[in-house]
Symmetry: C2
Subunit: 353 residues, 2 copies
């Protein structure tokens, strides 16, 4: 038996390093979420933010989900926006409305209200969730930490909410490049610190979510986003592979790659083969089934999984995932069918059984 | 003087035919809209649908807008969804909520409730708006007719509204290809008939709006959308150039071109030069400023116009437009600055003044 922990040789970690695997690893964004009856039942007793701040529950939710689904990786149960509370912007969750910042950033002056994240002490509940999840997970299952990318966090701070047309964000970005830089620099430093703290607490890999960057064109991304995402990524311990995920605009992918990440996460708006070619085969790729396919039936899911696996070919370095999170109305049996299909259809006949 | 009407030699029509022009033509989606004080004032007296159904007002609104802005083309004042009323789905507008279908298509059986558009008689108000606008416009200004593309109309019918994640639409599309085909065939025939009727009533060009197609990946677009958009486009009189506009996913552009259209409309998510190369130089291109840029100031607008014109190069066949409609909060002076900037910065020094 080797000295390295068992997760180091897991299919997920091998694929992140572009090493061959017996079958394609799969995990799902929002794999522990509202589509699961046991999660809904827990949430009837515990509000979302309270759940995020109770490390033992976070660990329990994720460990049970990984067991139930048979996925190849866990992700710490948390929320993109908790990082903003110690920076002076506590998020509120209203039923059915999603996250709200009651006092968003409206002017360049408001940027000063965002404090530097000097320490991760106030995010201890996330780090404890990482530790408890890690220690409760089977040794062969890697744990992923995560943070929102600077642009996505800035959008929430400026729009005050998630579902948006991003006009206010673009207005500030275009009108006051100095204020924008101050805002994005502060967020980039915070994101780097937070991801490193999660790695130190026991995460084997991290994912940077730039959920809203797809509202921008390539030139805007290059000017206003790329330098800050790159700074955040370069601050992260390279021993833990970083998955750089964006959604909403395939034309950004070469620039997302330029910003960094050993693994590039892509959504369903582009073919996996085409996007991998554009990104470059010196990076691993994660994706990219449309979550809406999981609303249908196991036969269709299997056909769609097969198409994506065929596009990935026999090239090492593909981590199967959806192009975005599991939808709340998804039948659990369809998620199970997906995980089975990925494992079965990707099994390499040349590998020892 | 030649026998052909003056609009035939307008910069807009020449660019649609990829002929050289003295300067780049510009018009704006939603150029007659809520950002104009006189339009808001009219709308305080006349509800939106009533305005759409009053041809004299439609003509007045558009002719005044074209005069005020100095744009190079008019578009008939109407709405994407009026075509659905004679097909059995009357739209309702609620303040602030946008269009609503109170009884959307929920099941495959519901598709039967969508009637064939046997005649355009019930859309006479649109055709009369075309005639009145054409006769009131200066002879050198071409008039554009329009319709929603089959997928975008289907999405509204199934989601019951515009702002959506399109999960219901995808569910029907994936789960019941037969019902989907019946729905899309019926819509494609209706769209073709309606666009031809607008051309016969006096429109010099038409635009097909596939506003929501960007929620799909390339394989879904190819299977479930392309054949029906192509059928609609092939039914249209080729003497009137057709602008095929989509938004939200640059990876679809080669397929949008395949579906047809002498002019391909692109949004700001992709560079104009890159998208034109992908589409092919045997098509004209329309686009592609981010409407959010119009919220800023004339200096920035001018710089952004310059960047897009540089990307278009000296190749004939570029029609300047936004990547989507003018935003309601846009200052009118910024729209005027945009139109001026396009005309000034694109003026070919070699052309007679």
């Amino acid at each position: 038996m080797s000295d390295s922990p068992r997760w180091e040789q897991s299919p997920f970690m091998k694929s992140a390093r572009r090493e061959p695997t017996p079958c394609t690893p799969v995990w799902l964004m929002r794999q522990a979420g509202r589509y699961l009856p046991e999660y809904r039942s827990l949430r009837r007793q515990v509000p979302f933010l309270q759940l995020c701040k109770t490390p033992s529950l976070c660990a329990e939710v994720m460990v049970r989900t990984v067991e139930r689904l048979g996925v190849d990786a866990a992700i710490v149960f948390s929320d993109l926006l908790v990082i903003l509370e110690p920076m002076g912007f506590p998020v509120e969750y209203t039923a059915g409305e999603g996250p709200i910042f009651p006092h968003p950033i409206c002017t360049a002056q408001d940027v000063d209200r965002l404090r530097e994240l000097e320490s991760v002490a106030e995010l201890e509940f996330v780090l404890e969730a990482v530790r408890l999840t890690r220690s409760a997970l089977p040794g062969h299952i890697p744990l992923i930490g995560f943070a929102g990318a600077p642009f996505t966090l800035a959008s929430y701070l400026i729009e005050g909410q998630g579902r948006s047309n991003f006009h206010r964000t673009k207005w500030l970005m275009y009108s006051d490049p100095g204020a924008w830089q101050a805002l994005m620099d502060r967020l980039a430093r915070a994101v780097g610190r937070f991801l490193n703290a999660q790695i130190q607490a026991g995460a084997q890999a991290v994912q940077l979510f730039d959920t809203w960057a797809g509202c921008l064109g390539p030139e805007d991304y290059r000017r206003y986003v790329l330098p800050f995402s790159r700074a955040a990524i370069q601050a992260v311990d390279p021993a833990a592979p970083l998955i750089h995920f964006t959604t909403g605009n395939p034309a950004l992918l070469p620039l997302v790659r330029e910003a960094g990440g050993q693994v590039i996460g892509v959504d369903w708006r582009v073919r996996l083969d085409q996007s991998w070619r554009q990104i470059g085969y010196d990076r691993a790729i994660q994706g990219n089934l449309d979550p809406a396919v999981l609303l249908t039936n196991p036969d269709l899911i299997r056909r769609r999984v097969q198409e994506i696996l065929q596009q990935a070919g026999n090239r090492p370095g593909h981590i199967f995932n959806l192009g975005h999170g599991v939808l709340p109305e998804t039948p659990v049996e369809n998620v199970l069918a997906l995980v089975d299909a990925v494992h079965q259809l990707s099994a390499r006949s040349s590998s020892p059984i």
